[in-house]
Symmetry: C2
Subunit: 431 residues, 2 copies
């Protein structure tokens, strides 16, 4: 059975974009100059800030957004056979402009995180792709940022691939690295984005062997004494004793993956110290989220492996960004649907800061906003006339986003780091 | 900037699988005959049943699970350079056996939904891929099944692509179709799996035009009078009047995407009827989940478009399946970690039913289980010696799963359809 032919990102699209386009081609409105804006009406329940992630992945996919023969055949097979539409799609190249917040920046309700300016016939086609990428990646980044904050400088390792869709796993590893995770278990993320990968062993490796000591010996022989031994397959105390017996006091780390991790980590530390393995680190995994990480702050833990909660956004698996038409031929437009009103017009955005550099407000306005001495213009040009303003490899884009995020997270007011539910850390205001 | 070279599913893998494998190759245990079992220790909080989805996607990916030159180079770039390991990976072909529940079947805590039997050096490599696929797809299928149940026969349309990772969106559309959704908005899902796709227009299409009537006219001209007009961009009542004025009473449907949908649907129905559009259907969208669908049971609604809640698993975005070594060279093995104990040995599984055909128990046992007159053996062979037992196209596999699911959902006891939190609908017992 052959695997399905890989299709262009152009098919990762909702059908209504093509039906609208067909109708707009017929009545001539497809040429109207449009501005679509991506924003979130609110942050996920109780979150204090959002983290924009995915822009780099969107720009990579945009370069491949083409309707080739395979894609056009796939559309015809679904009954999409309007000749004018198919001709338009066959010739589709994005020639418009994209502006947005730099990837890794913070965002708040109403922040215009991405803006697409192009004829309707181009801009309408990007809605699903841009939202899929930004809604997913920003959800993971926001959860990861809370975890990194709760870890207070201890390293966090992303290991959630098995708990999410196999391709989402790669994007999740990228989003985690963006907010400061030190490594990932995911090999494809290492290959695509240059993220450091780590991994040692599972319980299966111990069970594969006749005795725990034999498993440890095999791992040490291959990976060296600096490796991490998983010590809780049978009895944790005995596992640690066996680990140090086999490896000696130079053993790199032990991993605990079950039970009450605060108690286990404390016992493990004491036992390791008593055995002379004073430099052997204690790594904990097993259903950690930002709250569990915070609860372990006083425990002698040297690193956190985080899986399920990270890749599912820790209660907020999507962030509700929308893609709305805000301008048409220079005229601001906005819908008036109940509970979903929008503000028309292309937006400018500035983040205000006090003299100490702490963010105080997100200014979002259809009119240009003047930035004061401590303020920052948030919208930067990303694409001009279909060409990337700053071409970068996927790894370079991630590094830039990671560095920016590191800088801007330091500007958040103290209360933003509270894990409890609350209001956005700064207000969004009109100039 | 070139897009990243597509890599084999073999890199959608956690690094520890390769480190374990390297060590097992070194000490000779990589040849040990192993049985790994996929199961969930429990259902997501309060759920009454699980739906197995993803098996077909896993079997598709297994056929492509190869370490070619690009993958081996990607590993070397990450410091994975053990020559014995790389040689093993270069020659890797899965030659083992896979058994499991048929895709679309129900499952309960401890159900052995998939079993891989192969030398450790093969079976260990599949953990991440199999879990990513099954954990994701089963989460969406379970949420979708609750929605289809709550809709009581009214059609549900999947339209959540924009709220999840762009590739996860395609898998989500597939999982939704498996449990009875009638269509998807996602064009790639239509192309890959033959799922019917639908789509008409967004608010942007109305805003693109100078007047709502012009937008409606353009859509009707292109899509015909059977289309669905989105009527809540400005004022819903006026929108419906305009829609019928432009389309006539033969208009296919109106879509409501905001406000209190029960009130809106009732008003819309009355207004449509008063305008003579008695056959025009009322479709509702906007943050629907199974509870909202159930709450609309008495409202004059003809179809539900479901997005965010479906593709995020409606509160349970992953289902916690694990991949555990249960047998090694014919000997049952099990870890004894606190709170995570396993039962060793390859499992047999039978679902017991009463004379009326209602499921009464899930029997899971290391010993063979006899099936009574009304019972069903649940484990079927999927792969033998690396070859698919029943080769099928992706579309055929989905159709088979959908038909099986339709049959087995009818065997659930009545209380399983309650949306409130509760215990699994049937107990898992040992023979």
């Amino acid at each position: 059975m052959p695997s399905p032919t890989p299709l262009s990102p152009a098919l990762l699209t909702d059908r209504y974009e093509l039906t609208m386009l067909a109708a707009a081609l017929a009545d001539g409105t497809a040429d109207r100059d449009c501005v679509f804006e991506v924003f979130a009406r609110r942050l996920p329940h109780g979150r204090r800030y959002g983290v924009l992630a995915g822009t780099g992945r969107f720009l990579e996919a945009l370069a491949d957004f083409r309707f080739g023969d395979a894609e056009l055949a796939a559309l015809r097979a679904q009954g999409i056979d309007d000749p004018r539409l198919l001709e338009h799609l066959a010739g589709f190249r994005f020639t418009g402009d994209v502006d947005g917040y730099a990837e890794g920046d913070l965002y708040f309700p109403g922040s215009p995180v991405l803006t697409v300016r192009a004829p309707f016939g181009q801009a309408v086609l990007l809605e699903t792709l841009v939202l899929s990428v930004l809604n997913h990646d920003s959800a993971i980044a926001a959860a990861g940022a809370r975890m990194v904050g709760a870890a207070c400088g201890r390293p966090c390792i992303e290991m959630g691939s098995r708990r999410t869709h196999e391709e989402a796993a790669v994007a999740a590893a990228r989003a985690a690295a963006l907010v400061g995770f030190s490594a990932t278990s995911n090999l494809a993320a290492g290959a695509r984005y240059g993220i450091p990968t780590t991994g040692t062993s599972a319980h299966a490796f111990t069970l594969l062997h006749d005795e725990e000591a034999a498993a440890f010996r095999a791992q040490l022989d291959t990976l060296g004494v600096g490796t991490t031994l998983l010590v809780d397959t049978y009895d944790t105390e005995q596992g640690i004793r066996t680990a140090v017996e086999v490896a000696g006091p130079e053993l790199g780390a032990v991993r605990l993956d079950s039970g009450d991790l605060a108690i286990q980590a404390t016992s493990a530390r004491e036992l390791l110290d008593s055995l002379g393995a004073t430099k052997t680190r204690v790594i904990v995994t097993s259903d950690l989220d930002e709250y569990a990480i915070a609860a372990l702050a006083a425990a002698p833990v040297d690193g956190y492996g985080v899986g399920t909660s990270l890749v599912t956004g820790s209660g907020a698996p999507t962030v509700g960004m929308v893609y709305k038409l805000v301008e048409r031929d220079g005229v601001p437009v906005a819908k008036n649907s109940e509970g979903k009103r929008s503000v028309g017009g292309r937006k400018h955005a500035v983040r205000r800061h006090d003299a100490a550099g702490t963010a105080t407000a997100e200014v979002v306005s259809p009119a240009p906003v003047t930035a004061g001495e401590h303020d920052r213009q948030l919208v930067v040009p990303l694409v001009r006339g279909g060409q990337l303003v700053e071409p970068r490899t996927p790894a370079q884009a991630l590094t830039a986003a990671r560095e920016l995020h590191e800088r801007v997270r330091g500007t958040l007011p103290q209360e933003a780091w509270s894990l409890s539910r609350g209001e956005p850390a700064i207000d969004t205001v009109t100039a």
